[in-house]
Symmetry: C2
Amino acid sequence: MPEPEWDPYNRDCPTRAMLDRIGDRWTVLVVGALASGPLRFGQLATRVDGVSQKMLTQTLRGLERDGLVTRTVFPQIPPRVEYELTETGRTLQEPLNALEEWASAHMADVLRSRAAHDAAV
Amino acid sequence: MPEPEWDPYNRDCPTRAMLDRIGDRWTVLVVGALASGPLRFGQLATRVDGVSQKMLTQTLRGLERDGLVTRTVFPQIPPRVEYELTETGRTLQEPLNALEEWASAHMADVLRSRAAHDAAV
DNA sequence: CAGAATCCAACTGGATACTG
DNA sequence: CAGTATCCAGTTGGATTCTG
């Protein structure tokens, strides 16, 4: 079954949009935060330091739409809403982890280079 | 040698900025395009479909500053400038490839989910 | 060819206030 | 608690023009 030939280098390819979503600063962090299991909205807000509630909501809605996250509402007062990675969402973890690890591993190099470069000016 | 404990979940951690750079829609594509070897400015502009010359320049400057890409000017008229991944830049290829592959592999699922979700509204 | 510089429309995203 | 709605300042980035 020959998958269609996705090509991110073509400006009209949907994978472009996908890279945008992945690249979204909050998406990476939210998916990462959900890696260890379901979390409530408030818990996510706490874990992902600095995210505004607007952005968190927006990010979660996007992930839900793309089938990467499920949203479960428990009908009680006060409301309780849990977010959890779907099967597909979990497959995204691996590449995202790789990214975070790369960032951690090479951050020092990058900062050094950046300092040197700026000093040279 | 215990690396400092980078934590992308902390809003003040430099890895946050790094994720921003990686997340940059053009960075992923430019690094990917350079994977197979050095390219000239114009070649990059062609490969990375849709990038404006302003964005390409900006992206390349950023990558250069971070020590991920080298910029070589050949003193001739008309000018010839080549960009090439550095050692560190090449290490970034792997995680980025993983991302592109994920996008290619799951794009169909995502589009399906998206359509279903929108239809449900 | 490879850019630098400028202008400006459009989108992003934070802060704030309100609700079921 | 988990949002929604609104306002708005700041940033992004495309188009265009000019240059060594």
